[in-house]
């Protein structure tokens, strides 16, 4: 296959157009947009699932959905939001922003980057296909989606107690998504270590890049653990191995340890990028640097490292024993300190500043306010005796939604409003942005604050209905109203996207007068990112006299720039992996299963070879 040439006028490359150029893209900016669009779509799917859940729980003894379908809904809501919405939305920002922030032309491995995206897309479709393919497995429609909870505890997920394909979809889907995340992890670690512009020392990097850097290390160390846990589960289900077989001496807690060894770093994977975004937005709209840059960076690193030592705080009700309880309680309390320090540094950033409450700033401030609440309920959970009343109730549902919705999602919205002009070349409307923020802030609080009460008053998690005698009707009704309000807020955001496409002045390179390198180039950036790779002299290169050379960047590249073309092989390899997964899904029919898996393996291997040997220069 000949080197696909980039279209160019004279010697300046321009971005190719047309559907095929998107299918074969290896440009981090395009991949970022693909991640963002796809992840936002799944976010809406997860939100719809949440809405149905809340409608079912709006009244006691409700019969809107069956128990079985409800169990699929909350399983898919959790799985979708964690793996198909928040992580890929963060990845959208890793992709678009990190190379720009470090002064690079792309990531270290552009095709591997595309591969991660395609695997994510196909994996998400694979898992959600389960909603529709029930009849292929001799079951009704809407009956074979994963239904074991997003945490899939053994031995409920065993072949004995979950005989259908539901859990197979879940296990295989997660393994596929794991491949995407791992590949991206290797890519971004290499990119951040190796592709920084001259003078971009590690301690000059923007905090978003730093937090994303820590996140990638968490990904590459945590995902292998759940990979093995899932392998054990799949082998038990398909081959009859004994990993979680109690009658053979197996221990159901093995699953919990493996899952939570992954699961706790995972929650830091979910929050650190959003914390990074907030750390960018606040200085820009306070007109002063981040307070305590080094402390904020080290706190992020510390959270990542200590986050490996707290996993059993998800298991306090399993009777670990007083010593284990005490140790994990201590490590969990310890991690509250660097987290709090970050919050104080953010407030310190705004203190003495000149605050402009544009949309990104609203969401960043909202993040801080809501994360404080989520963090405090987290500290309550860190005490095992108290946690025995809180765990597995709506109290913990309140906690993690405050940190994941009030925290991560608000942070991601801050990022969307902040970097929208850079990505798309126009700004989102301020009025609609503020409306979106206030509706979402109110909706989020109305949904989740009452859950602190319903939890402590005795409502467990993962129940499709509850008795009226518990006295929880009003709290549930308030939560349901809040969910509807949140839905309206999302509609306002979508309206904003649609309305903002036309009209409005071009934002130029730096509409917010921000400090970091991505604002030195056009909005949107040219396909080669920077006309020259600048030499960086300061951590706030656009705010410091002489912080960056040359300044400003030349309008046109003075030297010819090589921009790699596209490639179809990342997508083909991704397809091969999905075909192998389908083969595994069919494990009840031996020959169709083996044939499909082998076909998938063949596609994968051939695609990898083509990928390895096609002419492709970065």
């Amino acid at each position: 296959m000949a080197i696909p040439t980039m279209p160019h006028t004279d010697t300046v490359p321009t971005a190719p157009t047309g559907l095929w150029s998107w299918v074969t893209t290896t440009d981090h900016k395009r991949i970022g947009i693909l991640y963002g669009v796809t992840a936002f779509f799944f976010f809406l799917v997860g939100g719809l699932e949440a809405l149905v859940i809340r409608l079912q729980l709006g009244a006691p003894g409700n019969t809107l959905v069956s128990a079985e379908f409800y169990n699929q809904l909350f399983t898919m809501h959790g799985t979708t939001m964690v793996f198909l919405a928040i992580m890929p939305l963060s990845a959208a920002f890793f992709n678009f922003i990190i190379p720009l922030q470090i002064g690079a032309r792309d990531v270290a491995f552009p095709r591997l980057n595309a591969f991660s995206y395609w695997v994510f897309l196909l994996g998400g479709l694979f898992m959600n296909a389960s909603f529709f393919v029930g009849p292929l497995f001799g079951a009704g429609a809407l009956s074979v989606a994963p239904n074991g909870g997003w945490f899939g505890y053994a031995n409920l997920t065993s072949a004995q107690y979950s005989p259908g394909p539901n859990i197979d979809f879940w296990v295989l889907g997660l393994q596929i998504l794991g491949v995407a995340s791992l590949a991206a992890g290797f890519n971004f670690i290499t990119t951040i270590i190796n592709l920084r512009a001259p003078g971009m020392k590690l301690m000059r990097m923007p905090v978003f890049t730093w937090m994303s850097f820590v996140t990638q290390f968490l990904i590459i160390t945590a995902f292998p653990v759940i990979t093995i846990g899932l392998v054990f589960l799949m082998f038990d289900r398909v081959f009859g191995t004994r990993f979680y077989d109690v009658s053979a001496g197996g221990d159901v807690l093995l699953w919990q340890h493996l899952f939570w060894l992954f699961g706790h770093p995972e929650v830091y994977i979910l929050i650190l990028p959003a914390m990074g975004i907030v750390s960018e937005v606040l200085p820009t709209f306070s007109r002063k640097p981040l307070f305590g840059y080094a402390v904020v960076v080290y706190s992020g690193v510390l959270i990542g490292v200590v986050g490996w030592g707290v996993w059993a705080h998800h298991m306090f009700s399993t009777g670990l024993g007083p010593i284990a309880d005490s140790v994990f309680s201590a490590s969990t309390m310890l991690i509250a300190v660097p987290t709090g320090v970050k919050i104080f540094n953010w407030i310190g950033t705004m203190w003495g500043g000149r605050l402009e409450f544009r949309s990104p700033m609203l969401f960043a401030v909202g993040f801080i306010s809501l994360f404080i609440i989520g963090g405090l309920s987290g500290v309550m959970h860190s005490s095992p005796p108290a946690d025995l009343q809180q765990t597995d109730t709506y109290f913990v549902v309140a906690h993690f939604h405050y940190v994941l919705f009030g925290g991560a999602v608000f942070g991601l919205f801050a990022g969307m409003y902040y970097w929208w002009p850079k990505v798309f070349g126009h700004t989102l409307r301020e009025g609609l942005g503020a409306l979106h923020f206030w509706l979402m802030f109110a909706g989020m609080n109305l949904t989740f604050f009452p859950m602190h009460f319903s939890g402590l008053l005795g409502m467990p998690r993962r129940i499709y209905t509850y008795g009226g005698e518990l006295g929880l009707d009003t709290y549930n009704l308030l939560s349901t109203a809040g969910a509807l309000l949140t839905g309206v807020a999302l509609l306002v955001f979508i309206a904003n996207i649609l309305v903002s496409r036309r009209g409005g002045a071009a934002p130029g390179p730096n509409p917010w007068s921000a400090a970091t390198l991505e604002w030195a180039t056009d909005s949107p950036p040219p396909v080669y990112n920077f006309s020259v790779i600048p030499t960086v002299k300061d951590g706030l290169p656009l705010w410091r006299e002489g912080g960056m050379e040359p300044s400003p960047l030349p309008a046109v590249p003075p030297e010819p720039i090589h921009v790699p073309g596209g490639s179809i092989w990342p997508l083909c390899t991704a397809f091969g992996i999905i075909i192998m997964a389908v083969g595994a899904l069919l494990h009840h029919s031996l020959w169709p299963s083996v044939a499909t898996a082998l076909a998938g393996a063949l596609v994968t291997v051939v695609s990898i070879y083509q990928w390895a040997f096609e002419p492709f220069e970065v």
Binding site: F186, I189, N194, V225, F235, R242, D251, L254, P560
Partner: protein
């Protein structure tokens, strides 16, 4: 349109592929670590079926371990040959490494089917499940390595593995040595340090 310089400048001076590969190895440590930890946690807890003392053949496995170690030596020699542009010895040592890797796999296949004959299958008990999954994952890694080395060997015969491509061989070497080290750990933990109590006299 001009082409980019062959050697890309990087912030650390290290090749991107080498940096990426080291992170991959870090991640693989967690993968095998989880498998080994599970093996250790479940040691001695099988309620029925054969266990380590009845099944494992240390002398035989010592031979296959030695074979794998020698393959690492061959790999080192292959890299050195590629780096100095010695096409003949590059091919000899690459072929030797792949061949010794295949021999190791042959030993594994022989050993496993022998265990099955003795009553230890994949699903027999905890020992069977943990042992075969752990060694199976390792064997799969060796298999991928043999394919990789064979590919490099073919490239060499095509005249496309000169000293400028040494980093490709170096990375294959990193992979191969890592797989070897994992085996040393497995051999030590599973075969040599057996803590299952001796059967009563």
């Amino acid at each position: 349109m001009s082409h980019a310089a062959v050697a890309h400048h990087t912030s650390t001076g290290l090749d991107n592929r080498k940096v990426a590969f080291w992170t991959f190895i870090g991640s693989e440590c967690l993968l095998f670590g989880s498998l080994i930890a599970t093996y250790l946690v479940y040691q001695g807890r099988s309620v029925s079926g054969p266990t380590t003392r009845e099944i494992l053949n240390i002398p035989l496995t010592s031979v296959s371990t030695f074979d794998l170690l020698m393959s690492s030596l061959a790999m080192v020699l292959a890299l050195a040959a590629v780096q100095r542009g010695d096409r003949v010895w590059a091919r000899v040592w690459l072929a030797t490494t792949a061949f010794l890797g295949a021999i190791f796999l042959g030993f594994q296949v022989y050993e496993f089917q022998h265990f099955v004959h003795q009553g230890l299958g994949f699903t027999t008990n905890l020992f069977g499940s943990t042992f075969f999954t752990l060694t199976g994952f390792h064997g799969a890694h060796v298999f991928v390595g043999v394919l990789w080395l064979t590919t490099l060997l073919i490239r060499s015969f095509q005249g496309k593995l000169g000293p400028e491509k040494a980093v490709n061989v170096e990375i294959a070497g990193l992979y191969w040595h890592f797989v070897d080290v994992v085996w040393i750990v497995i051999f030590t933990v599973v075969y040599l340090i057996q803590t299952t109590p001796l059967p009563a006299a």
